[in-house]
């Protein structure tokens, strides 16, 4: 028992769950237990979207220092706009819409890696520049049109089974898939090896470029998935629908215990961190904090969590 606890305490993701639980407790203590389940359910359904893109961001960040995908918000928007426009509220066109949106997202990933690899642009700047282009594409393609999602998509995105959002189950499966990829596939190992030392990975016979390429495509793909489900959830695509995910996707990766220096990814941490982020905002809302206070608290707690988690002590 003690040993299990000691081992658990060493897991970097445990703290994000502890923090999530703490803010949830404060919130329900304040409401005297009212709506405790509802608060949690709401947090889960919102956190689900952050988790989807957080997983992609995690893979990208794990490939080593400097790797980050800033084009996630724009890709979410593009995928949402493409999906809604191609589906055109028609259930029969659901599949073709999904295929179109995901194809567009994959193209974004390919383009990002083209900029990074062939034009040697640092990932931060490359994905930032491409996000401008993607956003313009989305704006000009879907201008002024707000199309409702086909009913099955909306149902899928909002359905609850025994109070638990269906999207949560979907995200759970996604998390398991990513965790297995990381631990049990050559691609996953390659990502972690490249994140630690790309030259050593190459000399160990690994396909360094292939893994990086696949990772940027995967991140864009997941952003596309998020875009489709999110438009189903919120009754259509909007041009600013991806905005909040820029900072959120990075924040959950780091709070969740993934190493920003690369080479160490953490799937459960993403979930804990995403829950924490949403419960935090909920708690501050319940406590009646003003917008300014809410912002300050959000920032201060992100900093506090990373300070307590201890950063990268083992490394460097």
């Amino acid at each position: 028992m003690m040993a299990a606890w000691v081992k658990l305490r060493q897991q970097p993701w445990i703290w994000s769950f502890v923090a999530a639980f703490a803010v949830w407790t404060i919130a329900i203590v304040y409401t005297r237990g009212q709506g405790a389940g509802e608060i949690l359910t709401a947090a889960i359904s919102f956190a689900a979207f952050t988790i989807i893109v957080g997983l992609g961001q995690m893979m990208v960040i794990s490939t080593g220092p400097g790797n980050v995908d800033l084009s996630i918000p724009a890709t979410i928007t593009l995928a949402g706009v493409v999906a809604m426009k191609v589906m055109d509220t028609d259930t029969a066109r659901l599949l073709i819409g999904i295929v179109a949106a995901l194809s567009a997202s994959i193209l974004v990933g390919v383009f990002n890696y083209f900029l990074i690899r062939l034009l040697r642009i640092p990932p931060i700047i490359a994905t930032l520049s491409s996000s401008f282009l993607i956003l313009s594409t989305a704006i000009s393609y879907g201008r002024g049109i707000r199309i409702k999602p086909p009913p099955p998509l909306a149902d899928f995105a909002t359905a609850r089974i025994a109070g638990i959002p269906l999207t949560a189950a979907f995200v759970l499966v996604l998390c398991i898939v990513i965790a297995v990829i990381l631990k049990r596939t050559v691609y996953g190992r390659t990502v972690l090896a490249v994140g630690q030392n790309p030259r050593a990975a190459w000399l160990a016979g690994m396909n360094v470029d292939g893994a990086r390429f696949a990772t940027y495509v995967l991140s864009a793909f997941l952003a596309g998935v998020c875009g489709i489900v999110l438009s189903g959830f919120s009754g259509g695509a909007a041009l600013n629908m991806g905005e909040e995910f820029l900072l959120a996707s990075i924040a959950v990766v780091v709070i969740g215990g993934t190493s920003v220096a690369g080479g160490r990814a953490n799937v459960p941490g993403i979930c804990g961190a995403a829950l924490f982020m949403y419960l935090l905002v909920t708690m501050l809302n319940i406590l009646g904090a003003s917008a300014g206070i809410r912002l300050i608290m959000t920032g201060a707690i992100i900093i506090a969590v990373i300070v307590l988690a201890g950063g990268e002590e083992a490394q460097r």
Binding site: R184, A200, A204, G263
Partner: protein, 482 residues
Amino acid sequence: MGETAIRLDGVEKNFGAVRALDGVTLGVGKGECLGLVGHNGAGKSTLMHVLTGALAPSRGELSVGGEKIRGGWSAAASQAQGIRCVFQELSLCPNLTVAENVRIMHRALKGFGWKGRARALIRAKLDEIFPGHGISPDDEIANLAIGKRQMAEIARAFTETEGRLRLVILDEPTSSLDAVTAGQLLSYVKKETAKGTGIILISHLLGDVLGTCDRIVVMKDGRTVAERNARDFNRNSLVEAMGSEVRHERPADASRRETRQTEFIVRARPKTAPGTTELVAGKGEVIGLAGLAGHGQTRMLLQIFSRDEAQVAGPLAFIAGDRQSDGIFNLWSIARNITVRSLKALRRNGLIDGAAETRLGEDWKKRIAIRSSDIDNNILTLSGGNQQKTLFARALASDATIILMDDPMRGVDIGTKQEVYGMIRAEAESGRTFIWYTTEIEELTHCNRAYVFRNGAISAELGAGELSEENVLQASFAEQAA
């Protein structure tokens, strides 16, 4: 020994339960060159870190110039006392110029015109130690070859501004130097001691230590186990004192075949020298790449590895010499560091078979005798020699039939070396091909054939019968004028 430059009395250093230094008493006299030898893990590095102020001793006393140091021993204090160290891994800032790196060492180099003074200082010192060095004070370190970087760092350690140089520690200073520059350095060491500077020379090249030092201290398990004048030691007595049984260098092996086969599984010509001698290797051969450091041997290996204008028939594996930058995955366990090259073969239904992975790791841990209680321990818990063994296990556990080695014995203790030599021999007999770059001429005795490199080209091909030190040196230096 006359006045002491620095003295340690009963110094201990613990890292948790591990006692890295176990009561070391050691003095270096003014103008004395002290040799320090010992296996990996004998405590030499810890001792150096204590002297340079990077680590504080857990117990014991330190006195500099006869004065006891009381508290506040730090890197800055050590600097101020005129103690310098040339570490095994380079301590230069790659983004700065040679002159700017000099400034980092000297607090006195500030104010108007500091750069001019820094330039003059390092240029004079480089000229003094390494005549004909070809390094400009305004060269950026990143643009210099590794040998020149080491020369710059060594010269920097000997520069003086305010305050006299008291002690210079040279930790494997010749590891990246070729024979000529290494010779220049060793003769400079003698000149410098004549001026009254104390020097500690740490080296695996026992010949250098025996030929250069006044006194030699042997360390083992965090203690000094022998201390004598250099002339009272010889190669065998030194090795004996270090604790491993003396193995006589195997004379040129008579049983080794001169295999000039007609079927080759590797053929490559250095891209830097088109139209010159071609490197060829047959099945089961051990091929040596020799010559002065940095003359194209590593480039040749990488060319073969990337199958760039090279015919290679069979899977390849690469064993790095520079463990930190080319070999080890710091965050991973020993097991994962071994299996990383074999992951594709460990797949079942597209997923890596965890049990098979563990078996492979355990198997090779045993076969290659990696000293660790658990292969799931982090790779960094191993000593340097055992980390290097892990890299050997990685290559030998793989499906590779051709194994490229980039001077893998750098900084490895003699015991480990002997084990690895035996393994290479056995693997070659079972049909694997080794292409082995080495900076130690002795190691060529394990090869069937060797290619000597000079200026990016192959300058000579030596058969097993011709692999003498003399022939290698001949080929390394011959025709320099032409």
